[in-house]
Symmetry: C2
Subunit: 472 residues, 2 copies
């Protein structure tokens, strides 16, 4: 198969590294949001694939990047990016990911990548301890963790493990139709998607009310719904409290939820906010998670790791393999049969598996836990400063209490009430300006601008720019 020889790779690899370095160095000067219309990128590319190799591959690649890709990209790594949640693709993590590609390992079984499996085990055990989740989620403690591709996939496999625990015959006969899953109106759509994928249908999704005056799950209401549903012959299989909802960053009361959930599986979706528990002063966000059955938080959002790398820990390390394992002859091997190893294919839907742990390893070695804590603290401090400015401004109001590094605000009309049209217009004006990028949600049916502080390089000077844009 044709490929670069190592010397050519050295030359072109250096050139690409230099391109990435220059791109990141100049990123703050680019507009965050591209001025590109649907179809424009496609129109700029040849429709047919080339029969012959490019005469100058380096120029072909950097040409595509400079001429088509960069002008056609929303720049998630820009210090003015406040949309959705951050997706910190640190340069540190790229080093480990490059090594992963160089190794070209397939980690489906321990035997197909012993190092890929065990480096991951050590890392997820270490992070379970560093986040205060307790020994129960480590392999040594009978649990275990893995790096999934996304919190969506983590929620799906947690649900599958829950279905299996609720009825072992699920593997043979499938779902029954009486299973129920408990969320709130702020729970991420990935839970609704998992419920759909798992064959339960939307009718299985039960929306638990908020506790009065909050956007967090009411454990009392949950307890009542669980009791009612059980009495009606339905089977509560999974409850999903969220730590840091996508809408407003609300934090469900995990401890109380665990205490009332009985035999339903509790999956804590802390995709964005869970990593904050690295800092002792924010550890409370995961309070009670040690009682849950599974916990997810993303390294690829706010922990400096390029997509994809989502932690999923389970308190019963046998639960996912029990639910998911299927072993044809060609995957049988002595190590698996010894029972002494973890085969991560049984923790996920895909069979194939990249050596994801290396990029996280390089982040931890390069930043240290203290560096990561400092980064999180810095973003939270910036968000608190922004929230103070919002609260003090006559045309803005906080749409919800600021949560860690997320601030949601209403734009007010002259009557002091949220003005949805003005909010939409302001959002579009800021985004069109290219110096900052924001997204939105609704809070109690009213438009709210979300400011998710957390791009790698965002500092006070960028918040000042954002504030100037918002108040211009």
């Amino acid at each position: 198969m044709p490929d670069l020889d190592p010397e050519e790779f050295r030359r072109l690899g250096h050139a690409l590294v230099d391109w990435v370095a220059a791109h990141r160095a100049g990123l703050a000067e680019l507009p965050v949001r591209p001025a590109v219309q649907p179809g424009e990128v496609r129109a700029a590319l040849p429709a047919d694939l080339p029969d012959k190799p490019a005469d100058d591959l380096g120029a072909a690649l950097t040409g595509l990047l400079d001429d088509v890709v960069v002008p056609g990209s929303l720049h998630w790594q820009h210090p003015g990016f406040y949309g959705y949640f951050p997706a910190q693709a640190s340069l540190l993590s790229l080093l480990g990911d490059l090594a992963s590609g160089g190794l070209g390992a397939q980690g489906m079984l321990w035997s197909t990548s012993p190092a890929g499996t065990e480096v991951e085990q050590v890392l997820v055990d270490g992070f379970a301890r560093a986040l205060g989740l307790g020994e129960g989620f480590t392999f040594a403690g009978g649990g275990g963790g893995s790096l999934q591709d996304s919190a969506s996939s983590a929620a799906l496999v947690a649900l599958l493990a829950a279905l299996h625990r609720a009825s072992p015959e699920w593997r043979e006969t499938g779902v029954e139709g009486t299973e129920r899953v408990y969320v709130t109106a702020e729970t991420h759509s990935s839970l609704a998607k998992a419920v759909r994928v798992a064959g339960l249908g939307a009718r299985a999704l039960r929306t638990v009310p908020f506790a009065p005056g909050t956007r967090a799950m009411s454990a009392e209401a949950l307890a009542a719904m669980l009791a009612d549903d059980r009495a009606a012959g339905l089977r509560p299989v999974l409850v999903c409290p969220t730590v840091g909802t996508t809408g407003t960053g609300a934090i469900d009361p995990v401890r109380q939820v665990c205490e009332v959930s009985g035999d339903a599986w509790v999956h804590v979706d802390a995709a964005w906010a869970g990593v904050a528990a690295l800092c002792p002063e924010f550890r409370h966000v995961l309070d009670g998670a040690e009682l849950a059955d599974s916990v997810c938080t993303d390294a690829h959002k706010w922990l400096a790791t390029a997509f994809d790398a989502s932690f999923l820990w389970v308190r019963d390390g046998t639960a996912l393999p029990a639910a998911l394992s299927i072993t044809p002859e060609y995957l049988r091997n002595a190590a698996s049969e010894s029972g002494e190893v973890v085969d991560y294919r049984d923790w996920q839907v895909p069979l194939g598996r990249r050596f994801r742990a290396l990029k996280l390893w390089s982040v931890v070695q390069g930043a240290g836990l203290e560096g990561l804590r400092d980064g999180i603290r810095g973003h939270v401090a910036l968000a608190r400063d922004l929230a103070d400015r919002v609260a003090a401004h006559p045309r803005f109001a906080l749409a919800a209490p600021p949560s860690l590094a997320l601030v949601c605000l209403h734009v007010l009309g002259p009557d002091g009430e949220p003005d949805d049209a003005a909010g939409r217009a302001l959002l579009e004006r800021v985004n069109a300006g290219g110096r900052a990028y924001l997204t939105h949600t609704t809070v109690d049916g009213r438009h709210a601008i979300r400011v998710a502080v957390g791009a790698l390089g965002t500092g006070p000077e960028h918040l000042d720019v954002l504030w100037a844009e918002l108040t211009r």
Copy 2:
């Protein structure tokens, strides 16, 4: 958030590129299979994560790689790797993947990465044409393609689209329990896994017999099973013919399967072998696929692209979004609502999405389609040569007809019959020797050694080494 500054990244990135180049240059000298016991890698690593950054990050990373990872890895990129199926992580593809990490894009929506979305659309359209799948699988032709993480995930979403097409109320009420899915005993276990994940249970999986004297699905038997099941009130939702089974490389008769499947969704799993259709002389392997509802083939197996990159085309470009889309307020945007764009989150389970197309782009630009065809032809020629040697050797027999670059062989006892114990012993002896790596399957209940030719650098000299090891 702490990170390398671009100049540090330049220095360390060059060093990592050099490490990868040196690793690949020296790979053939390493044993393919590591001499490592369960727990040995874990024991070599500190249990606790460091609070402080490493003094010398470059040394920390290359030290981990050299001292722990390389000695603890099965080397899938080694020219003596013949296990499972290949996983060609070409150096070409690493260039594009590095750029992808540098951009740090999130391609969940068109609006979150217009370039990421449209470069992918152009590539998958181009490959649909280059493989002879016809315009029906291109976006212009009303279909469309995507790069999934794996053939397993592709099979799952194809099944979900099939369930939705069979009963639109599936989104609301879930599966019914009467749905059936048709495979053979050689179909990849990912189909059984998809059936389990989708909530159907193993009872939904119907195993169609082989056509007499083959290991390929009997279209006649399929037609009869479909008729019987429909008559019994069951609902055939998906039929999965395989092009190149994992066991022996068998090729199911896709055209006939499509002709008898009626309203059941036909998903062609050509994960390994489909890319061979780039060569006119092997295009027949996808004969009839233009009639199917979906087709999958992996770029990350035999098309020089680092994991993960699995093509999935569907003939109805609206089918996956119709089955999978769920839109909370925070994902709403003008481009999506215009209907003029593709939002790839609706083609997969995860929400987040890496810019995978760049690694494939760099492969195509670097090798050209002609280069890829030459690589495939070369591997097929090597396998044919090996099959001839096997057929001529008194202690070996072909366990199944050689298929493209896959050869399966029995080790014979003195009586001329397959000797399972001798086969196992030979496999272990070859693998322990470190110069080649093989895996196994069973054919008609008898042990068979699989030789999957297809590592990037495998040439005639490596086949000679393998032959010497087999016959030693």
